[in-house]
């Protein structure tokens, strides 16, 4: 059951499975009292899936781990104030997107160059050649634009949810998506990419 609303009934008859996704609830025969996860439990269960988002936001392994560690620290500091622990993923993703943007600014708004560092291109990754070519272009997008694509197309968020997590308007998400796709089309004219603005 994805995106369960968490009514009293559902909370008393479903147990949250943290290892897979915070939104997945598995029915059990006996009534189980669901207790709020501790931050340590949350971090252990969600490290791997959130790392993948971090990798896509950062573009390389080293910065991805930095990004996620720092976002986890910020989440830990505010854990008591995160009312819906099931939505803590959202808080981490928002923090990572903001941190990635800030890191980019502090570097002096580096413009993507034609020659990307070898380890950052994903050259060592076992992925299809056409995917690798597209990934290199996605990596070269500005961080907010890249974050928009990652949240929408990797984390499967709607336009509205993406806007909420990035702290911008729905129109801004649509605009960022549009411009990102236009850049990708320009860089890879052989690709046919159409927009799906749900």
């Amino acid at each position: 059951m994805r995106g369960a609303s968490g009514s009293v009934t559902s909370l008393s008859t479903f147990v949250v499975v943290w290892g897979s996704s915070p939104f997945v609830m598995t029915p059990v025969k006996e009534v189980v009292q669901v207790s709020e996860p501790t931050f340590s439990e949350f971090m252990a269960a969600r490290w791997a899936p959130l790392y993948r988002t971090a990798y896509l936001l950062a573009g390389n392994a080293h910065e991805a781990e930095e990004l996620l560690q720092n976002a986890m620290v910020k989440t830990c500091l505010r854990w008591d104030k995160i009312r819906d622990k099931q939505a803590a993923d959202s808080y981490v993703r928002t923090t990572m997107a903001n941190l990635a943007t800030r890191l980019w600014r502090r570097r002096g708004r580096e413009l993507p160059s034609d020659t990307l560092p070898e380890d950052a291109t994903g050259a060592g990754l076992d992925v299809r050649a056409d995917h690798l070519a597209l990934w290199e272009q996605i990596r070269a997008l500005p961080p907010r634009m890249r974050a928009t694509l990652v949240l929408r197309f990797f984390d499967d968020l709607t336009v509205a949810d993406t806007a909420r997590e990035l702290g911008c308007s729905v129109g801004a998400v649509k605009s960022q998506t549009h411009h990102a796709l236009r850049r990708l089309r320009a860089a890879l004219p052989d690709l046919e990419i159409q927009e799906d603005l749900r």
């Binding site: 993948r52 392994a61 500091l77 502090r106 597209l134 990934w135 990797f154 690709l191 990419i193 799906d196």
Partner: protein
């Protein structure tokens, strides 16, 4: 073809990227550093405010709390122990050492190693070092720090300073709470032994406020012990004591109590709150999610009557509320990737943005 290609690419890349093991040791180190920086940034942000405030303060504005007017009291009040400390200086920790900032923008570095600034008192800066010793560092009128004096020896637990900076409470061996005067380290009183689960969260005069786990508060003074129980579902996460008023803050609401343990005001909405130094007002910030109105509201601590503060509509998270005196307080928070600071006055019923740091560079103590 739709955006499926992008979706497939992102999943392909993400699945191919090896996930590193969770480095818990590294995480703990970052967490400790972050907590230390939060302490530092509060002081630095306050210093920025001090510069602004003092610059416009003809004749001198009295700023209590972190920016307290630290002119020494008459010697007769302190047994001659008063130190000459300047007005509106702010001690912060940078790179593990004490740094004193003055309103004119000067910085005075000290060789005193410290991990945390506990308070600015009329007698100087109270700091804790890596051995949990509490030191009093006198600060000259020009902002220059002097030689530190040991106030509490090593491994002092639960150290808390009163709102006026006159007393300090700590947990002594055998679980006794001791209160001493900052001025001359003379004893005020010894309380206890207290429950092992109690930790000190406030002191004012000869009375201490302790938190018992996350269920109740205890007010311990010359009249005995009073247990304060907030309403159901509002377990205290934070509390303070000033002017015979107790503030008990849960994650979303605030309850106040008088010195006899009677509830004064309940259901004050706020995820971050603070009690004025005279105990008259509670400032609370709410993001609106729990039914409270977004923004900052000041409540009469005795009646709960709200007074809306103009100048801040909400929208950004407020992380810190720090009262300067009975009228003014600072509210600091995060906006986007940076920090901002509001200067609020109850008398004026308004907050004014005094400081903004859009790139959050202030979080780096080495800058």
């Amino acid at each position: 073809m739709t955006d499926t290609r992008i979706r497939d690419t992102l999943h392909d890349v993400a699945d191919a990227a090896p996930v590193p093991h969770l480095d818990r040791v590294g995480f703990e180190r970052r967490l400790r550093d972050a907590r230390r920086r939060r302490t530092t940034v509060r002081g630095v942000v306050a210093a920025a405010a001090a510069s602004v405030l003092v610059a416009g303060a003809a004749g001198g504005v009295r700023l209590a709390g972190e920016l307290r007017d630290t002119a020494p009291p008459p010697a007769s009040e302190t047994g001659g122990a008063a130190k000459a400390t300047p007005v509106q200086t702010v001690p912060v920790i940078v790179d593990g050492r004490l740094l004193v900032l003055t309103p004119d923008g000067a910085e005075h570095r000290s060789d005193v190693r410290a991990e945390e600034v506990l308070a600015m008192t009329p007698y100087g800066a109270l700091v804790a070092n890596e051995r949990s010793e509490v030191l009093l560092v006198p600060v000259g009128r020009d902002g220059r720090p002097g030689e530190p004096e040991t106030v509490l020896p090593a491994l002092s637990d639960g150290v808390t300073v009163s709102p006026d900076g006159e007393e300090i409470a700590y947990l002594a061996p055998r679980h006794e709470v001791r209160i001493i005067r900052v001025a001359d380290r003379s004893p005020v009183t010894t309380i206890g032994p207290v429950d092992m689960r109690e930790r000190i969260v406030g002191v004012d005069g000869d009375t201490v406020l302790t938190m018992l786990g996350n269920s109740a508060l205890r007010l311990r003074g010359p009249d005995g012990v009073r247990t304060l129980r907030p309403p159901a579902g509002q377990a205290p996460q934070d509390a303070s004591l000033a002017g015979s008023v107790v503030r008990s803050a849960s994650a979303t609401t605030v309850t106040t109590f008088d010195a006899d343990g009677h509830q004064l005001a309940t259901g004050i909405a706020g995820t971050v709150s603070g009690l004025s130094t005279d105990g008259r007002w509670v400032a609370a910030a709410s993001d609106g999610a729990e039914g409270g109105r977004r923004g900052i509201t000041v409540y009469d601590a005795a009646t709960g009557r709200p007074q809306r503060m103009a100048g801040y509509a909400g929208g950004e998270s407020i992380d810190v509320i720090s009262w300067l005196d009975h009228d003014r307080f600072l509210a600091g928070g995060l906006r986007g990737g940076g920090s901002f600071l509001l200067d609020c006055s109850v008398a004026q019923g308004a907050c004014t943005e005094r400081y903004a740091d859009p790139d959050d560079t202030i979080y780096s103590p080495t800058r």
